[in-house]
Amino acid sequence: MGQTARPGRLVPYRMLAPKRVSLFCGHYGSGKTNLAVNYALWLRRAGHPVAIADLDIVNPYFRTKDSEAELTAAGIDVVSLPFAGSNVDLPALPAQAYALVQNTDRYAVLDVGGDDRGAYALGRYVPYIRQENDYHMFFVVNFYRPLTPTPEEALTVLREIEAACGLPATAIINNSNLGAETTAAHVAATRPKAKQLAALSGLPMAFTAAEQSLARADWFPLTLQKKYY
């Protein structure tokens, strides 16, 4: 996080200096995977060597692996759970994830599972991440999710995740959206809540994210996956 960042202040993403390791955590369905994929692509477009790892041991559907072709084509190494997208419901972590954390030659983007339960899996990598101490731990929040409608409830989830993985969050990403029905006004309406969460947590706002056709100049534009159903 940039030294100038203060709690509650919005830092446009262009000003957010990337760290060697970027972690995306948050409540189920807050949009961690989409953000991780888009952030990895953004880093890559900026010319950095990038690898992304899917550490979500909770959710068996809609994963980083679904974007593997696009990521690989962009020159990003994708480390998925050995059984992601298959019928094996085995919460095993990829052995290569250690290499991602320990090999400091390239940027690592880690997609962490939902809630505190998903974040437990991160714990094994935390000693290395702490030792290197060059990371963003983004807490992703969507205030349209029914269990995190208020800054207070989002803060509870944030603290549960930190306790589970043993790594404090460093910045907040406001990814509030209503899926295909999202308008820019929906996103803008949540900014006071995001600022309040930043104030309550003592963390700076990293950025607001929105689907690219909606994103305003200082928002992080997201490309979403197409569905045929």
Binding site: N87, P146, L178, Y229
Partner: protein, 353 residues
């Protein structure tokens, strides 16, 4: 004015159940429906409800049986292998004329199968599943909004007809996220004079049981139950008709398959092929009448399913051998694409597009 929220299908089921007055949930985790249990575990303690993770699916369904006998709204949820385990209990609940909600977020089978979406429990849901002569009211949501709305409806219908209802979804419907307008909190006031609530020494005992020692009595009970089933068939058929007014080809699909089919109908129409869709919302009772009417008009039916072909039998029974009925399906956790459906229709259209 209520506002929309972004929910997973499984969460929408759980929240809608709570708003329908359900305060008793018994289950056992299984992918891809575990979020129902996870949501209930978080919410029920806050609202004075009961969330209980039973030691097995068999235990859970028998807990449902017990609470249903007391007249309270109660539910369980599982996915295919877990729902198989519940079948004995479901038969007992049906045999005791009790309302309850069973949710099946289907995955590929048979056996342990897989965790990806499927619709291959159609036979089990609509043709009994457990032993004996009985039916479930079976509702098939095709959006996260319907996951919520049909959960409310299932509780109402179960109460009204004193029979178990099933929400038959699939892994995709359970896992996908969409905006939802949640139903208002509901106060249900269906009188349940049969409920086992304690006599207070003021009335004779209510007995909830599925055991009948006299065969004539058991036969009579079955006949009474089937009279009720006929009412359900007359009053509770639900379906959506899409672009059927001038359709030459009738796709029939529910749930996730209906969503893909709708996109295929639109794409076919853009190519000048008049396709339409009948989407059963209840698969028991099955929308026989609209299928029979369509048989007067269309050249062929296409049953689009995530199975080796199960609903196709009900389509054939309903259209009564008047027109060809072909299958377009994927199984084992795979989902048909609009292109596959279009190809099937074009083959019926003489292969020319």
């Amino acid at each position: 004015m209520a506002e929309k929220v972004l929910m997973k299908g499984n969460e929408a089921i759980a929240e809608a159940a709570i708003r329908a007055g359900c305060r008793h949930y018994f289950g056992y985790p299984i992918t891809p429906q575990t979020e129902v249990a996870a949501y209930m575990a978080k919410r029920m303690p806050k609202i004075g409800g009961v969330f209980l993770q039973a030691e097995s699916e068999v235990a859970a369904i028998n807990m449902v049986y017990g609470v249903a006998a007391s007249g309270k709204r109660v539910m369980t949820s599982s996915s295919s292998p877990g729902v198989s385990l519940k079948q004995e209990g479901i038969s007992y609940i049906a045999g005791s004329d009790l309302p309850a909600l069973i949710v099946n977020v289907q995955r590929g089978g048979p056996g342990l199968g897989g965790i990806q979406p499927s619709q291959s429990d159609y036979f089990q849901a609509t043709k009994g599943g457990g032993h004996g002569d009985y039916h479930l009211i079976v509702l098939t949501p095709a959006s996260v909004q319907e996951m919520a709305d049909l959960t409310s409806l299932a509780f109402d219908l179960a109460d009204k007809y004193r029979m178990p209802a099933m929400l038959l979804a699939d892994g995709t419907m359970g896992q996908m996220m969409e905006p939802v307008l949640l139903p208002e909190e509901q106060v249900h006031t269906v009188a349940k004079p049969w409920a086992v609530t304690g006599t207070q020494n003021k009335r004779p005992h209510n007995i909830v049981n599925s055991l009948y020692l006299v065969p004539e009595e058991l036969e009579r009970t079955n006949e009474e139950r089937f009279a009720r089933y006929r009412q359900v068939e007359e009053n509770e058929v639900r379906y959506e008709s899409y672009c059927m007014e001038d359709a030459d080809y009738c796709l029939v699909a529910f749930g996730i398959a209906a969503r893909v089919s709708k996109n295929a109908v639109d794409a076919l129409r853009r190519q000048g092929i008049k396709a339409g869709l009948i989407r059963p919302i209840t698969v028991w009772p099955f929308p026989k009448a609209p299928i029979a009417r369509a048989a007067e008009q269309v050249k062929a039916f296409i049953s689009v399913e995530l199975s080796m072909g199960q609903m196709i039998e009900d389509i054939r029974l309903a259209e009564n051998c008047r027109k060809p009925v072909v299958l377009c399906s994927r199984a084992g956790g795979m989902i048909p694409t609009p292109e596959q459906i279009m190809q099937t229709v074009m083959e019926q259209n003489g292969g020319n597009d």
